[in-house]
Every structure is written in C-alpha cells, then in structure tokens.
Amino acid sequence: MPNAEDQFEKLRIELRRGSLVLAVLGALREERYGYTLRQTLDDAGLPIDEGALYPLLRRLEAQGLLVSEWREEAKRTKRFYRLSADGTETLATLLHEWNAISESILRLTEKDA
C-alpha cells in the first residue's frame, strides 16, 4: 500500500496536470521562448519539467492555440511562442471555467477552511 506522502504526491501531480495548460497559455500572452517560459512558470510557483513543456508547446501549436517562430537572440536562434487569436479565445473560456471550478470547490469546502 502506498504511504500517505506518495499518495499525496500522486494526487498533487494529477491536480496540477490539468492546470498547466492554462498556466502555459496564460504566460504566453507575452511572447517567450522555452527557457524563459519555464522560468516564468517556476517563479509563479508552477514548475514544469522541460521534458513535458516542449511537447506540450508543440501540441498546443498543432491545435492552433499558439504560434511560434525561430529568431536570433543573444547569438543563438530560439523558438519564440505566443498565443494565437484562437488561443486567446480559448484561454478566456478556460479561465472562466477555472474560476467556476474554483468557486465550486470553495463553496464545497468552506466549512473545512
């Protein structure tokens, strides 16, 4: 049987997994490349494994939510990402959903808070 710490860690990862897309879309309202995006998320308290971040960025781009371009900066070419028009719209809808979920959870757990 898994110990309480392992169990909590699994639940925490599950909980965070769904919110990462929202965090990435939110952070990319401003143009960023992979490394700075990861730092931004890290600074905001949502660290993401780089092995997961780059495939996620590609998936979101393939879904039309992000656009990217290779550009030179600090003597190296980097791939810059930003939100597309569809991405902006999707982010607004997801944020609305996120707030609704958050309010529901608060209502359900306010006695315990």
Binding site: Y35, E50, Y54, R58
Partner: protein, 316 residues
Amino acid sequence: MDLIDRYLTAIARRLPADKATDIVAEIQDDLLSRIEAREEALGRPLDRREVSALIKEMGHPLIVAARYRPAQYLIGPDAFPFFVATLRIVAMFMVLALAVGAGANVIFGHVPLARAFAQSLTGLLSSAMLTFGTVVAIFYALERGGFPADHLRKWRPEELPETRDKQPGAWGSAFEVAVGLYAILWWCGIAPLPILYTNVKGLTLVPDPIWTGLWWPVLALMVARLVYNVVQWLRPRWKMARGVLSVATALGGLALLAVVHQAGHWISMRSATMSAHELLELDRAVNLGLGIAIIVVGVVWVLQCAKELWQLVRAR
C-alpha cells in the same frame, strides 16, 4: 559539449525524421541556456560532471523523444476495460479448447494423461503469447479507429441483462463453445477423434451410409448450435436471437434425429478375430444403445426447446 551532442543525437534517433532537427534544436537551446544561467550564478564554467547532472535532469532520451510522439500508449484508459474483458473471454476459451483437445487425445488417441497434459501446456503457452499479441494488435488498431468512443456513445442501459435473468456461467458457456468447435473440427476430419474406431481386438466400427448422406445437415446443425452457444456466452441479453436459435436448432435436430432413427441401424462391426455370432450380438447391442441414445437426445432437446420458449414468452 560532447555530452550534449551525444544526448541530442540519442534523442534525434528516436524522433520522426521530418521533425527531429527542429525539436533537437529547441532542446539544445534549452540546455545551453540552463548551462549559461548556472555558469553565471557560479561565476565559472561547469565541469563535465555538472553538465552530466544537468542533462540527466532533462530526462532519459527514450522518454524525452517518446513525449513528442502522438501515441503515448498502446491501449488507452477507455479501451482498457474492453481489452481486459476480451482477453478474459479469449483466455477462457483457449484453456477449455486445449483441455477438450487433451481429453480427446487421452480418451480416443490413447495418449498418456501426463503427455497429453504436457502437450496442452506447451500449446497453451505458445497460443497464449500469440493470442495476447493478436488481441493487443487488434485493440491498438481499434483505438486508432475511434473505439470505444463510438461504442460508448451508442450503448443503451436497456441493453443490459435484466437482473431477474439467470446468467449462464461463463466457464460453462465457454466449455460448450469449446466442445462445439471441437465437434465441428472432428466432423470435418480435422481433429483427431477417429470416425473408424480400430483399436479393440481388430474390431472396426464403420458408420453406415446414412451418416454420409446427412453430413451437410449435421454440420449445419453443429454450426448453428455453436452460434447459439456463443450468443449465450457473450451476448446473453440477445434473448430473441437465443430463443430463435434454440428453437431452430432443436427443431432441426429433431428432424435430423427422426431421419436417423428411421434408418434403424447406424454402425456396422467388422472383425477378423471375432466369430460371426459374436459380431452379430455386439452389433445388435451397440445399435440398440444408439437407438435409445437418439430417443433420449430427442427428448432432452424437446425439453430444452420448451424451456427456452417459456423463458422467451415470460420475458415479453
């Protein structure tokens, strides 16, 4: 840089060729950015051990590359329960088919029990691996084709078996299917159950011409009965299909039994060592036994058919 190059090459090897350069360039930039940031913080260049640790943080090349592939699993969580259920059915059928085969080998082929068991076990292991692989391949293909989303959209609670219905035991139904299939294989001359029985004091049992004339109708009846057993096992809620198949096979079987019974004689005996009188007595006893067996089978089929009809009427 040697370590980074080796790492990136290992990832690139596992990526689709048309995307590899682009993906690897991005990973390389990330790694170099991290090294630069670390070096800036430390105020000195990183040594080989530190670079190695940093690369390791990025993840194993196989896992990093796999994350860029569209398929992350063979069988997804939605299809998995269907996969397990299918595997269970196939495994049950396989075990029983091999058990029936071993039993037939022992009884009719005079193979020692231990050898028949060992043969079946060997057969079971190889068949199990092949079957498992085949089921996985089928589900992999089905999942890529949209299963089970379509099935989950179409299913209706009304299709579930009624609670008052007695469900036939899965092992019993699987056994009937295995026996039915083996009987068909034997009737077609594929399975080793000899139609000419030639092992007792030179005695040979020769089926009468009536059986040759009824070969196709008997085969049709066996196939229909197999279909009935499969439906009863895997789709017990198809009551109408079960009822129709049961009545049809019972009526067909009764008609066949009537024709067979009218013949009055079904098996002839030949022996080089037994006297004509002994042969005649044996012939009479065997055919009398067969005659009674035909009547008993007929009565059982009539009762089964009546029971099925009654259940069908009660369910409406």
